[in-house]
């Protein structure tokens, strides 16, 4: 689970079956003030149990900073934040090891680790592991904001409901952060309602639904990154794919470039008030792996929550024969709303890392 960047290293540790989860991180700037309330309200955006589209399991997700953050200031020491698991119920998942849940890591973890793996609550594959990621990312977000860099994400698709994308050329901090202020992270009220209705539809069918989230970054200076493996896309995608449920990522025009002519896709250079910009932003703020000064834009595809109430075809690992699986308990019918802050966190870590390397 380790990420090894240019200046920041981190390790997410623990699992849903252990006494605690957390993050160890190095390379954060010493002396930086961190607003604990702001951090906590950021974490609350990811926390479950708050509404109809998320699991009712209540998890406080309050990080204890064992080192590296003292009296609201980063000390320069290794940061270690711990979140206690108050609600460990191994028994909930008793029969899962023998009958793997489709779409989950149960089977692959069994092949990799054998009988000894503890997959209670998802083990190290639990979506809960994104909580420590958000602790670190929330800190990075505050540091970047002080440097005039804003990161905001929102939902652009839930099932068949497509929402508006960010304007990749003129993107204000207000617009960028608007969705994050809503309980359901889409800025347009009409789209919000439609998306929630779509999720509710699948929830009532004991099913789930996927979606797409978009992340925008403004204020990020031009000239950061590098060619080939040093590129910003490699840095960002490496962390984004560490978020469980992500199956795709695209930058700027993304997959649409496949049907674009060069004359359309190439963003013309222009001068505005002495500053060189591009007229359009199909490149998503990154050219040759290096930031251009234009808004950085990327989108990630999230698969539907694999835990659904409907009966599913599976097999018994021990008896090597077919078995019908019914997963009990309530789960998020759609992971995307809670994934919005995670995406912001991932982008913040990757971008602070490369920014500091300059």
């Amino acid at each position: 689970m380790k990420y090894f960047g240019n200046t920041i290293e981190y390790e997410i540790f623990g699992g849903s079956h252990e006494s605690e989860i957390g993050v160890i991180a190095k390379g954060l700037p010493a002396g930086e003030k961190i607003d604990p309330e702001k951090l906590q309200s950021f974490l609350k955006r990811r926390a479950p149990g708050q509404n109809s589209w998320s699991t009712p399991r209540k998890e406080a997700d309050i990080p204890i900073f064992e080192s590296g953050l003292k009296d609201g200031v980063l000390t320069g020491e290794t940061l270690r934040a711990v979140i206690k698991n108050t609600n460990i119920k191994s028994s909930d998942y008793k029969n899962i090891l023998d009958v793997p849940r489709p779409g989950h890591a149960d089977f692959t973890a069994y092949v990799k680790y054998g009988d000894s793996v503890n997959m209670a609550g998802g083990g190290p594959f639990s979506g809960r592991m994104t909580a420590p990621l958000c602790v670190l990312g929330g800190i990075c977000l505050q540091i970047l904001e002080k440097r005039g860099i804003y990161i905001g994400a929102h939902i652009t698709r839930i099932g068949s409901v497509e929402g508006e994308r960010f304007d990749p050329v003129n993107l204000s901090a207000e617009k960028l952060l608007a969705a994050g202020k809503e309980e359901f992270p889409a800025e347009n009220p009409a789209a919000r309602e439609k998306m929630q209705t779509e999720i509710e539809k699948y929830r009532q069918m004991s099913d789930s639904i996927g979606g797409i989230a978009e992340c925008g970054i403004i204020g990020f200076p031009a000239g950061i990154g590098g060619p080939m493996n040093e590129g910003l896309e490699s840095a960002i995608s490496q962390i984004v794919f560490a978020i469980p449920a992500v199956k795709g990522i695209e930058f700027g025009a993304g997959f649409d470039v496949s049907c674009m002519a060069g004359s359309v896709n190439n963003d013309p250079f222009i001068i505005e008030n002495g500053v060189i910009k591009t007229e359009t932003n199909n490149h998503g703020g990154i050219l040759g792996g290096i930031s251009s000064g234009m808004p950085i834009i990327f989108r990630a595809a999230f698969k539907p929550t694999p835990s659904i109430g409907l009966p599913q075809k599976s097999v018994s690992l021990s008896r090597k024969e077919p078995e019908t699986l019914v997963i009990k308990g309530r789960h998020d019918p759609c992971i995307v709303p809670r994934a919005i802050p995670i995406l912001e966190a991932a982008a913040a870590i990757a971008l602070l890392d490369v920014l500091q390397a300059q």
Copy 2:
């Protein structure tokens, strides 16, 4: 340009403006036999100057192995392969530094490195830097094949022409490698013709066109990878985004998962001849970052070649005023055909790396 994997490290060095380019790599298995002719014919698939959809610049791309490969055997020493640049014409790109080409790294490299950067021929951002990547990847491909692991890619889209995708459940080595044997890497003759016609259309307009390539891997054992940052998607995407022109990547059902219900996307587990498989393969062979034993499938979106003959809007960096740019010389009207072996190379490096870590 460094990649720092679990067991393999590599560094692509040089640039189109230097006397040579090459790759330094560590962690390859000692004693392994490498067929030089097979490697050379793999490299030929990427080399330009062979047909109407690629630039007529003839580059031999013959690697000299300074160390690590002797008499066709990997010695266990650091591998160092060098490709001499025989055709350095700095003058070709004389005015580019002042008037950056839209869609290229000219501008961002200028911001990052200042006047001192040498962007002749694209410098370190040149597509030519993928030749050493293919040298390393071609070696990894041969090693994997001996372990029964086959990697093949093909074109699934050029502009508006959509081709067939691989069958993600029943995928034979024969099917997988079919496209690579064609001069134009699509296995279906009808699709091949349509795609070539599409490219020719843009070439005649002095324009270019984008596309999508798909890569499949079979024979890769289940249980390789790990949760979060240790996942196969992070490993693969990190290298794939190092390929210039890639703007998106997706695994399995990819972005389509956004409109799928969990009951549809979840791949049911079944037993076939005592082996546990999945009935469908929306997960693309990876669950929780770990291989499932099913074919690994991913697709990458390639933008249209930014170098086009049409006049384009740009600016003069020195005079800070608008300037119309006309790029001379011939360039690939579509990068995707030549990108097919590069995608295979990238996958081979990432997968051998994680496989060896087991």
Copy 3:
């Protein structure tokens, strides 16, 4: 505190002032059986409070394995072992932050981290941080032993008392492990007594004394390591210098090579029962960074415990004026006896790491 090896990565976390300390490690071989009692008795050799030459603070040092070790088997998951700090007395160290202890990290930590650093009990610089190192090292030792590789250390000098060194040519496992079985880790009874007497002398003066420990490794295969930065000396010294109090390390004949002729220092090659060996072992089992198959031998110099009862000259950081410091409480008059297992642990981690890379 991170170590980033070829195949093993680890991170020691926490500090004497936190609720716990521990280690996170990756890259250990899955399926390996670990004897918990053997591990605990190894840890006991480092633990304090057992005799007159160590501090009477009783610390149980019982690791809780949160993940990676289950039912005595390494699962292949990330190993996370935690040792609870039962005995946190911040008040013991109250005045230290203002008056730094000579020979300690108090002053340098203050410069680096400012007022916010918590140096209670030594903070992250505490000798106690070697307990998690021994947890990891103790596991590596057991793994190596199963492959016929034995690591043992002993004291070769305490103050003015010099003990016998290992025979670097003919070294049996019995001889190697003899010292570790003694309460005071020197194999020769006469030397043991003299060394203990030497320590007792300094203890009664409220002073402390330094020493030298030697570590030997047998059964390690030839051909492991590599030139320059890949050398075994770099790997071993990197971890050994992470042990607080180490001020020097030497391999084979070490500093004595400075007054040796080449004709004396060069170890002649001979054949014994068809096996190529060296007649002498001034090279300490390492030639060109690569193991030769001969016993690996290195020695480390440990400074006297800086915490002594005698009044010492220091300064008040706040008042910027001289201050006499008297450290209360009892401390080890000599760190070397307890450092013996730490040295074995450090060697075991470094050597398993490079061995696995082969």
Copy 4:
């Protein structure tokens, strides 16, 4: 041969048997001016063929900067410097592969790489590999000097001749750099003569002799480094042991701490002109892995050159029987004089790396 630091990464590539050797480095500060003549005269200090104590092989050692340094300015791109091997005579070393030279890596390289390894001229183990290290180190030295940090080394022992050590408390740049200005790098004329006589004695016997070199650093700010594996000793020793022939390293009082009492070894804190210093400097400028602001002092032991003219006992690898080996050609009778700039280079790389991480 890779070094992977906090901010600087480098790779030494090639070997005496290849067409070139060189260094690839990342993380150097962009825009920094480098004086090429100063660099060349630094490299000349290491180059052979200049006097009676070094081999008469003339190697120009003129680096060609393929990228990263242009018009005397670091561009921020990857630095790649190449030194051509003009003098490759594989035949010189023809019989060595079968009869390994005592004290050399011939035998261990054979075990590791098998028959395929090319050890002509030492291959990747050649002392010549330190030339590219000096190219990188020479650049780092110039960067550090602009920040007021001076690094100088000198010989403190050759065989039985012991020279003066640096004053570890009051050390001026003038004193530090004095030895480097002499053809034979010892500052005291009397010691110089004695040491040269000692070397000449062994040369005439067709033998060789070892020695000790000391390196001092002044102007390095306090507060750089960190606990355990982040310590300065780990960083420095990792590179110093990459220098062929080094068998030991010690910091400050080094191995002498073994016979020191804590009351003697502990350096009292004092205030001089408002600045906190230590009265003595047994800690060698490093406490708890962190710089104290006092001069950093370390010493390295170099073994005698293993290539000697005297007949030596060895074995035939193919025939598995004893063989007497006589090495022809002239070799350095003592490596230490030429190792002085290498030690400075190693220290400069390690210290710039950690300094930049702050």
